[in-house]
């Protein structure tokens, strides 16, 4: 794999929402961070590799929470199978190693999180639609997210299918703790960290520091604020003044994604066909 990238690369003329989302997520990770991914996480995996190839060569990647600094080649069809952690420096044992390091608080402080439902205070649900004991829809289950929301991590949500069904006023079930009821409720429970950013196919949102209510930070080029509002199950806060436009990826970022990181286009599997 080629190392580094031209820092002065111009904005791409030709980019797609998946590539823009990857660039935004990549920008959340820096040298000195450690990043890991779970299953069906094509965008985060691409983002970690993009960061390493450009601004954050010393970002440490734990592929699938298993393989330390692998050399995987093009993104394979699964982000939780052996091809992803080819030539790793270490096979991280899950409980004694991975969870101990994750719980500790000094490492692996940022997580990319996908969720079936995310609400206005950043609470996530991968458990059930409807009642827990008699669900209307049984979702896959919260797995590690049930921990990550409570152990001081900074959470970066990604959502390739921004819709009123996935961004809801209130989740049916809190399976990953965000800011709970908002304000200082999370803090009062002694929880640190919390949701930082929500990156969707339409826009980037963050959380207003006092109320902890989700807030529109930027819309992607070509997307209007009205489109975002129509696609969201609640009213996100709006910034004072003009809403910013998300910077597009650089030409070099797009080249790296298309030619080096994901030539087979696995990243597009996450997007619902329209």
């Amino acid at each position: 794999m080629p190392q580094g990238a031209r820092p002065d690369s111009p904005p791409a003329q030709d980019w797609t929402p998946d590539e823009l989302m990857i660039a935004v997520l990549a920008g959340c990770f820096a040298d000195g961070d450690q990043a890991c991914n779970g299953m069906a996480s094509f965008l985060p995996v691409a983002a970690f590799q993009l960061a390493k190839l450009t601004h954050a060569p010393d970002l440490v990647w734990l592929a699938g929470a298993v393989g330390l600094e692998p050399r995987p080649g093009p993104i394979p069809a699964s982000t939780l199978e052996a091809p992803l952690w080819r030539d790793a420096l270490m096979y991280v044992e899950q409980f004694g190693d991975f969870w101990t390091l994750a719980l500790n608080g000094r490492w692996l402080q940022k997580f990319c999180v996908g969720a079936a439902q995310l609400d206005r205070f950043g609470n996530a649900n991968n458990s059930v639609i409807g009642d827990y004991h008699k669900p209307k829809v049984r979702l896959p289950g919260t797995a590690g997210l049930g921990d990550m929301g409570s152990i001081g991590k900074q959470l970066y949500f990604w959502n390739p299918n921004h819709s009123p069904r996935s961004l809801v006023a209130e989740v049916d079930f809190v399976s990953c703790a965000g800011y709970l009821g908002g304000g200082d409720e999370r803090e009062r429970l002694g929880l640190t960290g919390g949701p930082e950013l929500v990156v969707t196919n339409l826009c980037v949102l963050d959380f207003e520091p006092q109320s902890k209510h989700m807030r529109l930070r930027s819309v992607h080029p070509g997307v209007t604020v009205e489109q975002v509002l129509a696609a969201t199950g609640f009213e996100p806060l709006l910034p004072a003044g003009e809403v910013a436009v998300t910077p597009v990826p650089t030409a070099e970022q797009v080249r790296l994604i298309r030619e080096v990181i994901d030539p087979h286009g696995m990243r597009r599997r996450e997007f619902r066909r329209r």
Partner: protein
């Protein structure tokens, strides 16, 4: 050491109707599928499952009506989608799911293995997972620190695992690969342990790599040689998952009838494991899987 080698059919007799079965599994990885098929063929009923992340094994057992409860982190076949028969059974009330975070499941099993009444985690605080679960409760730190979630010990009746090689006495070895925690903790927490293995070898072969042995034979009740025993899930580094069979299942499992026909063809129909391997494509297909040609 005592010899524990036996057949799939004999080993399955260690699993009774109603048992809580700890099942090695990730979404598309390393599940003891040959033993799962044997349990379906023998029409076990009212089983509970304990799993980190259940995949096609859970969906087949649900479709076959073998299970009525599930304790674990998640059920998913990753890129192949949701486990539809399982999901429908939960929605219909035929299967109860106890959903745990990863640290909570490991704490419950860890306590079971170590004969402790509970272990603690700081995960899940603030979520709805605690209040709905009688096996979780908040407790104070006696030293004045923050409260923690106590997770009640979990002791499955039997654990099913699949390994790369074992000797006749049930000493279990893995080749270098991802080390998921179910293999480490489930066999120690469960009352009985059934091991299937790609290969039975002489004990002296194990002595050449003692650091790869993960379970001593005295923990194991039965060991069965079943090459390709994890198919259609992957078993690194030996073979990848069978994507075509996963896709065929997902298509069939849209309906109860489709699922039943699929199970008839691939699980009830084949008289034994060799016939199953022939039914899913035989030698040429299996050779492709060793090269990770998933689809």
């Amino acid at each position: 050491m005592q010899v524990k080698q036996t057949t799939l059919a004999e080993a399955a007799s260690l699993v009774s109707d109603g048992d809580l079965v700890a099942l090695q599994s990730m979404a598309t990885q390393a599940a003891p599928m040959a033993m799962v098929r044997e349990l379906i063929r023998q029409r076990r009923r009212d089983l509970g499952l304990v799993c980190l992340v259940g995949g096609i094994a859970v969906d087949w057992l649900a479709a076959a009506g073998c299970i009525d409860r599930f304790i674990g982190n998640a059920v998913s076949m990753e890129q192949f989608g949701l486990a539809q028969r399982y999901r429908r059974a939960v929605e219909d009330g035929r299967i109860r799911m106890e959903e745990l975070s990863e640290t909570a499941l490991l704490a419950r099993l860890g306590a079971g293995a170590r004969n402790l009444p509970f272990l603690v985690t700081r995960g899940m605080i603030g979520t709805d997972l605690i209040a709905v679960n009688e096996n979780l409760t908040m407790i104070e730190d006696p030293f004045g620190g923050p409260p923690v979630v106590a997770c009640r010990a979990l002791v499955p009746d039997v654990a099913l695992i699949h390994c790369h090689r074992a000797d006749r006495c049930g000493n279990v070895q893995y080749e270098p690969t991802a080390r998921w925690p179910d293999v480490a903790i489930m066999p120690k927490a469960a009352r009985r342990v059934i091991v299937t293995t790609e290969q039975i070898v002489e004990s002296d072969v194990l002595r050449t790599d003692p650091e790869r042995t993960v379970l001593p034979g005295f923990v194991v009740d039965a060991v069965v040689e079943v090459p390709w025993g994890a198919h259609p899930t992957s078993f690194n580094p030996r073979y990848g998952y069978d994507g075509a069979l996963h896709s065929a299942w997902v298509a069939a499992a849209r309906s109860e009838e489709g699922a039943a026909q699929f199970l008839e063809r691939y699980v009830h129909g084949p008289a034994d494991h060799e016939s199953y391997l022939a039914a899913v494509g035989g030698e040429s297909r299996l050779a492709a899987l060793t090269r990770w040609e998933a689809e």
